[in-house]
Amino acid sequence: MTDALAILLCTGVAVLAVGAALAARRPALAPALAAQAAGLLLVGIAGGISLLDGLSAGSGFTSDLQPAVGVDPLSGFFLLMIGVVGVPAAVYATGYLGATSHPRALAVLTGCFPLALVGVVTARDATLFLASWELMTLIPAAAILISHGGGAARRAVFEYLAITHLGGVGVWVAVLMLAERGALGDPAGLAAAGTGVQTLVAVAGLIGFGTKAGLVPLHSWLPRVHPLAPSNISAVMSGVMVKVAIYGIVRLLFEWVGGPALWVGLVVLGLGALSALAGILYALFQRDLKRLLAFSTIENVGIATLALGAAAVFTARGEESWAALALAAALLHCLGHAAAKALLFLAAGSIERGAGGLDLDRMGGLLRRMPRTGAGLVVGALAIAGVPVLSGFASEWTALQSLLGLGRQDAIAPALAGGLGAAILATTVGLGAICFVKVIGLALLGAPRVPAAAGAVEVPRAMWAPVAALGAACAALGLVPGLLVPSLAALAPGGADLAPGAGIAAPGTSLPTLGIALALAAGTAALLVARGRRAAAPAPVWACGQAIEPPLAWTSAAFTKPVRLTLWELLRAESDVRAVTQDGVLREVRHRGGVPHLFDTMLYAPVLRAALAGAAGARRLQSGSLRLYVGYLVGLVVLLLLLARVGALG
């Protein structure tokens, strides 16, 4: 069986690579992208088999610096995620890339990106892991630079590369230190090195993986870069790339470091809570749809990290079954969010094509004009908002269960962390509801606000079918999550024996998702029948007798105003109201407002200024004078001779 698994995986990767190569040569893109989709399908199936049957293939982790590849159930889960997101993205690209500026180059990158992701997830030694990690970072940058040529795109890519590489040093430090101590393949390896090394590896790894995952405060690259990439690539970026960073954190905390210390778990929990809250708060106030979705990715990564932190705390306290539940919650949330966010990005790309823009205040009524994409968008947005009974509700219920279980522990720090974490998670879910109700309402419902929206056209089938498929995936994950949760719980160290069913079981209680869905459907049907033939009289919408005009339409800023007013000081929101009078008569009232991205102004800008000041100071070393350089040389030689004399140099 493991041989079959290995063959399946290798075939899938080979077909994917062939697809990527074909895109460079053949004039028609459809066969190449179809090959990529087929390869990703095989990869996803292989991952699913590995996860559900608990199979491993290839080599385990090794500390030698020789390339080694292997699959185990955790890698299999992420391969499944790559398949779930990659196949619809590749099919979508068939219809989408034709209208971009460099379709062939982008099609090649569409194929290479999943290859790099598969590489990270199946790498079993330090060199292949780090090489794939770098490739995974660089390919989206290349895609953005190819599709946009302007200065703004270059600047965004520069910031992306700068932040991810500066933070990513942590990954290099952690992995190389592990390889040096021989701890990559050996579970007890790092424990022998002492707590100092363990702490260093844990902190460096958290910083490195956390930067790539988009955890606050190292998240600033995400909202800059995701809106710029082509829709199929940003779907994979938001859906899988940030989750691969979570994969790294899981490996780090639960395998490489050995059992994490309690304070590490609490730090991870705190980072997750902060990211979730900050992400959704900033998502709420965005007008650009893709930027909103990027901030929402930060929120959901925060939720997954929150559950991971709970799992780490449980592991530190020795509660293995609770740790398994928390880990299952985190991973289920990763998969559910991957499907839903990919759906949303693909639908956003369709809306951009159909309605001509991504400004939420300039859409409206698209559900009538683009029914299939619109229906998909509704499902995806409700799934992310955590509405029963879709994927978000199942994973958030499980995460809340683990946090409430943490709150019931008998030590004060975990209990407080669990209680606060649960409160913050609930707040995040509430804010997410506002955010995605706003998205659905502004984009799809009501009357069209601009002529472009009134004239919107449904996209071709290659572009709406993947959206529909992902919607079905979100619904499936919400209806029968119990098929996956036992396999996910088994991934935790110490494992857990949960019986597969339709719903999710937690200690003492359960979530019968299928029952809830059926009951809701039955109730709705019964009320529909009871309501009978709906004798309805047409009437204008009530606006105190006024005629409804376009200027009276509610905007994004209006819907989020209560939140903005409540959190005015926290957000440092800006509002500028100016009345324009002429000859004593009021002509116009102008209002400008906004919520600045505080992390940019308060954290990144001072650091950037300090770095530039330091660089300017250091530039004085490069005076151009030959004598000064000879002076440096003399000084260095004297210093080395002194050190040699003293015996400091070995």
Partner: protein
């Protein structure tokens, strides 16, 4: 299914019919306190009958979301009635009895109403929906913290187990339970939409919070939505009486204690509504945050005290 399970299930199902009585009860108490005779506790049934006979409205430009929203809200609240147990007995079908499922279903109802407000595009509906959702942000946190405090003696979030664990007198020696009761009071006010948080009797559109989206409905749609508001009363009042009011262990006295507790809460709601004026909108989130902090304090006291 034992006889107790059947009786408990029967009471839960009868909540469909009994829920409007709670709303009528609160109205009667308010009327008495205000020196009026009032229309009696059966008035909501007369309202529902009147609305059922009328025709609905199709706002110009509204789509399928507007027509589907009342059905979804009604179904969600009806399912909540089946999830919230009246004793430590009942059935597992169809939706179990977990308190977080109740929270999720209430959120579903809220989201459906907000989407219907967007579909009609009416400004009053959107204003009310945005305020309702904003309150729900901290309201959900408050509800989850109450669930945690109530789950502490039971070690699970299953409502029937929580019901059993809060029975008897021993739990009332724990400060955590008092903190939880205080926070639950806030939840009751928030979910029923009663003063000082919201005014259910208002006719001024600018002051509407959860009534805003209801403006565009008429006829049977409005009847379903008004029944859903009554069902919300049932859900939170039964939860509050079952978890945070004293009740004995054995079955029949417990049912009697539940009825008494709900009646007491109805009278309390009427008194609070008469006594308090509506709070300024922006003051409500800090109050909810304070409630969450009180619940957290209860959690800390439980852990520090080592539990029961």
């Amino acid at each position: 299914m034992s006889s107790r399970d059947a009786i408990a299930l029967g009471i839960q199902v009868s909540g469909v019919a009994l829920a409007p009585l709670l709303v009528g009860g609160v109205q009667s108490v308010k009327a008495r306190l205000q020196g009026r005779r009032g229309s009696g506790p059966l008035q909501p049934y007369r309202e529902l009958r009147r609305l059922w006979r009328r025709s609905a409205v199709d706002p110009l430009g509204a789509g399928p979301v507007y027509r589907a929203a009342p059905l979804l809200v009604g179904a969600a609240l009806a399912l909540c009635l089946l999830v919230v147990p009246v004793a430590a007995y009942g059935t597992d079908l169809p939706a179990g009895h977990d308190i977080l499922v109740v929270a999720g279903l209430l959120a579903l109802a809220r989201v459906a109403m907000a989407l219907s407000a967007w579909d009609t595009g009416g400004a009053f509906g959107l204003m009310g929906a945005s305020r309702d959702l904003t309150f729900a942000v901290l309201g959900e946190a408050l509800l989850v913290m109450v669930a945690l405090v109530a789950a502490l003696p039971a070690d699970t979030t299953d409502l029937q187990a929580m019901w059993s664990a809060s029975a008897g007198g021993a739990i009332w020696t724990e400060p955590a339970h008092w903190c939880g009761a205080l926070a639950m009071g806030l939840v009751v006010l928030l979910e029923t939409g009663r003063q000082p948080i919201d005014n259910p009797d208002t006719h001024l559109e600018l002051t509407m919070i959860h009534e805003g989206p209801l403006l565009e409905y008429a006829g049977r749609d409005l009847a379903i939505l008004q029944w859903a508001a009554a069902a919300r009363h049932w859900v939170v009042l039964v939860l509050a009486a079952g978890l945070f009011l004293p009740h004995p262990h054995s079955f029949a006295p417990a049912i009697a204690a539940l009825a008494l507790g709900v009646a007491a809460l109805v009278i309390a709601l009427g008194v609070v509504e008469t006594w308090q004026a509506k709070m300024r909108l922006l003051r409500v989130p800090p109050i909810l945050l304070a409630g969450t902090a009180v619940a957290l304090l209860g959690l800390v006291s439980w852990v520090a005290g080592g539990g029961l």
